[in-house]
Symmetry: C4
Subunit: 224 residues, 4 copies
């Protein structure tokens, strides 16, 4: 069989399952990241906003929310993709957890629109930021559950260095703790929360042990 791309071959129950999961997950993440733009509304010029330039400047909350969500989905895509490179096999639990992960990713445009709408409304800012942060915390929890479940059910590619594995686990946990901190800081101030999102963005934009793990593996190991 030479046209594997067309009629995928199967070996074991769930082996090769992850290629299919990855393709579907990548599609959902690409769509969610591109759909964010739909929530950016063209401002209307009227008595309150006498010029388009001013009206656009006053939409800064929309652009900030767009930026944070775009970058965060981009990072989630990278984390997810690197993780599944280390997971050649999937079981049913992983499939279900991954669908839950996608549920929260696909939801991102909604809390993003809520933040864009209510970030400047003093009475509702906190609620909007809490919803936004709760959603990102759920994404981080799902990433950790995926990894934890894959390790527990022996789905991770064998022969990885124990220190590298611990490094990856730690990297995912740091994200979860930072998002938990962001959620808590919603009660303090919007600015403090945003500082955490910038830290998360910088932290995951830098290369981590998940990429290093891939580097240390010889091709023969990864060809399953």
């Amino acid at each position: 069989m030479q046209n594997g791309a067309e009629t995928p071959r199967l070996r074991m129950t769930e082996a090769s399952e992850t290629g299919r999961i990855e393709a579907f997950s990548d599609a959902v993440m690409a769509i969610a990241i591109t759909l964010l733009v739909i929530e950016l509304k063209v401002p209307h010029v009227d008595a309150d906003h006498p010029s388009l330039g001013r009206a656009l400047l006053e939409s800064w909350a929309s652009y900030l929310a767009y930026l944070v969500s775009f970058w965060s989905i981009g990072l989630a895509w990278m984390l997810h993709h690197n993780m599944f490179k280390l997971i050649p096999r999937a079981d049913h639990v992983l499939l279900v957890l991954n669908t839950l992960f996608l549920l929260f990713i696909a939801l991102v445009p909604y809390p993003t629109a809520i933040v864009a709408e209510y970030l400047e409304s003093p009475g509702e800012q906190r609620t909007a930021m809490l919803i936004f942060s709760a959603m990102w915390l759920m994404v981080a929890i799902m990433i950790n559950l995926l990894w934890w479940s894959a390790r527990r059910h022996h789905l991770v590619v064998p022969g990885l260095d124990a220190r590298v594995l611990r490094g990856i686990t730690r990297r995912y946990l740091v994200g979860l703790l930072l998002y938990l901190l962001a959620l808590a800081l919603c009660l303090v101030s919007f600015e403090a929360t945003m500082v955490v999102y910038v830290i998360v963005g910088v932290y995951y934009t830098l290369p981590g042990p998940d990429r290093i793990a891939l580097a240390f593996r010889a091709p023969a190991d990864l060809a399953d």
Copy 2:
């Protein structure tokens, strides 16, 4: 030829057709599942909804409809994908039936929005639920027709155990009957219908004989 992914090779009339059908179907399902979020409207805070938190809580029908539709498309994707792994060849009837299947999948966001809008309106709740349930029944009917047509036209991979085949047929039929029940229960109460959707969700989230069928096949059989 080694880059099958780029210029797919052809062997027989319809052989390898299903790879192409699957890719297009997967794209439509990924887009439909992610577009659901567009129907979630940011609530407006006004005299009736004095706080964002309250306004969000009052949108529970939207979230419920989102959850049911998201999970159901996710399950339809799994069922469809597992089915086409057992169908290496396609004929014209299968192509047409699959396009009808996609028509109802692509439609999902519309009845979902109708339910979100009218679930709390006493006079219209029943109509909204009937439309929603009729659409899912059509999805279930198309799944059954696809399988029935593939078996009748000898498109299913040969050598599958008869009991496994019957198990798969039964699994698809159970879904159809449950969706028929959900449609009938719309006339009784919204809560009863929802219980059926939860049962469908749990039933298909558990692994079924379609996955088991794949497990029992050796690679050589499936390499067409």
Copy 3:
């Protein structure tokens, strides 16, 4: 090189170009066909539409436009895909013509929404139908131009039976003539135009010589 799916190999100037064109075209068609649902608006129940059931029935023009456009994009996808299976190489003219083809496909939701809005408004029905029909005529013209340009620039796979080639050319031309007829009939009546769309739908849903051409080719010929 064994992982062709990741780092596509190149041979000649434009050889293998079509795999890339096909993937991008398939994505645009899958998105356009799924975006159609966004134009279906949840009806509002008010004094004019005292019940949801009645309001939905009165939206029949939306559903009709949705059905015609969904099925037509589905057929365009099939025609496009079958055509590019016979075109292993692409030149710059083909790339530009294909982008124009995609421009009209991506536009489909707009005239579809215009028809849905104005089909029942006596003064504007004709204008709406003319725009809708003009767009589908452009799609048909682009399909014919793609094929004509591919044949003229010797991009079609060699060794095809002349009668089969003529059959394919005729099949594309019939569509163009039918869409031209549909455009002309807009001036007569909406119903007459719709009959032509049903004829087009049935004609292309039946298998044609493009599929037969594929059947007669041995794998060795198509492996470029």
Copy 4:
């Protein structure tokens, strides 16, 4: 390994990384180009616009903005794809730059909608055109940064003729300069800016040295 499409094999740290980047980038570009249609609003016929035909003609700014953005994303897709064919390896900087490139591509529908809304409003036309042109300039800057970073970090496929490399660099720079000119001309007149967009469209629609570079390479060189 024959099913490369399913469980991608890894060789070096970042080798084969670009296949994954390309697939995600292609998906985002396909979605952004197809989402443009959502910003085309069905015109409402009222006292000001007594007929649908007239109302549509008066929406010319929307169609112009749609055309420019559709064609420009199409060209960006071609440029991006040809560039990554010459970049078999990726490093972290390239990944981050590419995500920034996608951020501006995914944003395209928003400035397009702003232009469509304000092109005919004398006081705001200039602001709208400035935003639109600034966004395209950012796309051009990212294209140039991607290429510059790939060359500097030795990610470009070795053995390319120095003149061809310079030709490609020049081709990207011409686009950046033209978009800079378009931005400056916003201050002069809308028509002058549009002439530059037509020139950019024609310039990149014609084949360039990036395609020629691919033609001169033997398959063995490109198989990494």
